[in-house]
């Protein structure tokens, strides 16, 4: 119970921190705010992918990184007139690819799980052979 509350507090503080950083970087009228948020999100995703042992969590971390990239694309699109609507199209495309990737990744994880009886990736070393 304490861990949940502590986690929520930490997460809330984190999000508030993010908002503060965004505002400090120039508010919603600044491209830098979007890019900073995107960079932070990407770093969190990367950390999750490298540090979590559970394969499902890693998959979620990948989604986080993809969305960070999407965010930066949308940011660029709304601040650069030349890109126009094509930025949104690219973002949609990334979402579609991400959905496909998640499907395939999840099914691979399920298949490995059936063999190894564990979701922990540090137990998987079949690629060394």
């Amino acid at each position: 119970m304490i861990r949940v509350i502590l986690g929520s507090v930490l997460a809330g503080a984190f999000i508030v921190g993010l908002g503060l950083i965004g505002l400090a970087a120039g508010g919603s009228r600044s491209l830098n705010a979007y890019l900073t948020l995107s960079g932070i999100l990407f770093a969190i995703g990367m950390f999750g992918f490298l540090a979590r042992r559970n394969a499902i969590s890693m998959l979620m971390a990948i989604e986080l990184m993809l969305n960070a990239v999407n965010l930066s694309i949308i940011g660029f699109a709304s601040f650069d007139e030349k890109l126009g609507p094509s930025g949104s199209v690219i973002a949609l495309l990334v979402m579609a690819v991400a959905a496909g990737e998640a499907t395939v990744g999840l099914s691979i994880i399920l298949a490995i799980y059936r063999n190894k009886k564990t979701p922990l990736v540090d137990e998987y070393d079949a690629m060394s052979q």
């Binding site: 990367m46 992918f49 490298l50 890693m58 990736v121 540090d122 998987y124 070393d125 079949a126 690629m127 060394s128 052979q129």
Partner: protein, 668 residues
Amino acid sequence: MIFDVLIPLIIALPLAGFVFTAAVGRRLGPRAHLVPVWAVGIAWAIGMVVAFSSLTGAAPFGNEGHATTLYEWIPSGTFHVDVGFFVDNLTACLLIVVLTIGLLVHIYSIGYMAHDPSPWRFFAYLNLFMVSMLLLVLADNFLVVFVAWELVGLSSYLLIGFWKHKQSAALAAKKAFIVNRVGDVGFALGIMAIFVDTLSLGDGTLNIQQALHALTTEGANLPIPIWVVALLVFAGAMGKSAQFPLHVWLPDAMEGPTPVSALIHAATMVNAGVYLVARTNPIFASAPGSMAVVASIGIFTAILAASIAMTQTDIKRVLAYSTLSQLGYMFASLGVGAFAAAIFHLMTHGFFKGLLFLGSGSVIHAVHEEQDMRRMGGLARRIPHTYRTMLIGSIAIAGIPPLAGFFSKDEILGEAWKNGFQWVWAIGIVVAVMTAFYMFRLIGLTFWGESRVDPAVEPHIHESPAVMTTPLWILAVPSVLLGLVLSLPGPPLGPLLGLQGPGLLAGWLEPVFEHGTELLGRTEAEFQLFGLDGALLGASVAVAVIGVLAAWRLFGVNLWRFRRNPDPERVRTLTARVPFLYRASLNKWWFDDLNHLLFMVIGGRIAAFLWWFDRRVVDDTVNDIATTTVGAGKELRRVQTGRVQNYALGIAVGLIVMAGSFLVLAAR
């Protein structure tokens, strides 16, 4: 044309005999000789028709010879090689020698090999040899000549080592093959040089007649000088004709059956070198320096071999060194520009040396495979046919008129003097004394005097069967008459009888050597019986007689009314007076020992060092590289843990480093 069929048939018949005998000969047992002998017999008949049509200048041959193409062997763009045959008078002369002696040796071998366990193998090889030798003289292309050149080498190897269970025969076969290879390298390079030269003049060709024409008449700048081509071709001739320093294989080749020695190592194959030089005479004539080399090597081999022949005790070895010496004469003759005289001596020598070898085979047969003349003696009454025919052969080779050897040898010596090679003449005269001496030493030791035969063998001495003595008598006929017939109506006897014109053989060969003689710029001088020519003639008869008398004095004689016992005491005192020369001759001037030292001892050391170098340096370097690679791979595979997050960490670190360095670079 009928001749376009007949000429290939000369080769096809022995080839068929070889294939048949090789395939089913084993089952024929003692009748294995039938097919090979008949094949050669029919080939002989056809060959005589072809040869005499050419010599008489009949329809397709004329003066220039007749070429016929069988098929195109190598079609490759502008370069193409035809398997074809070319018959002119030179080829015709060689055909007569090769086919006649070949046939007689085949017949003789029926008797000689009767007690051998596998005569079919012998006859198959003999037929293979006939195929190769005939291809050699008939081919009209250097590449085909080279193939035949190697084939005669192969059949010579097979026949020298025919008694393969004998260590000495196997080694002698190997020696002959390897020493011949040395010369063949030269010949192969010579053929390549000819192609390079003809290519520079337009179309590259290996056709003999076209190449000779192109190389000698254009007078253009050749990329490879003509004297290099001549010496390379001569290197091949030296190997096959056993000229110094490649002479060492021929005496050892006597390990083969005696008919083989007669056919291959006296009458035909060893003449291939003489034939080759005579055939390419315009090349040699364009480079006078190379002619001098040919003459020097020839006359040096002649005196070297003659000096060795004087002390050898093995009857076949004496004859082998005699062959070397006579081949030396032929090369000396080619070298001084007397091409026709060389072919003249080739023909007469082929017949009387073939006779002498077959006779020695009959002697060896009579005394139960004994070859040492010190354990013969007094055989004249026991084997009269062999004795008489061998005596005829010896008189012929010694150069006593009017037998064959006198005419050809005298012509060689006379031409040498008249063409300005007095030193060749001088050495040749010394060799002539030696020749007469060692031949009558051989006759004296073998046939005259007291018998020194093993008492156990003595009662069993028997004359050979008619199948062996008949070829001897047939060969005795040309040994007596061939010189006379071929030299008439020309000198030396023609003018004496009031006849005019050149000799028969000289007339035949004139178109062949016309070009070469033209290049040399020689003009035929009038024959003066009571002048220079008469003096040279007298000299060569005198030295022959001196040699014969010297041999009679030392080794005895028992001829009609001349009787004299051998004088071994005197031989001993004479040899003691020149101990160095005697030991040198007895040890063959240490050439075998020199070769042993150079190639077996020193060459062996070098080979051992190179083997060590290969093992320790080359192999070890390669092995070390392999070991290092394997070790490195073993260490590096630990990086591949198989855990996906390790890989991802690598990607992340790479990304951060890239982004970081971008920031650092962009900040500057």
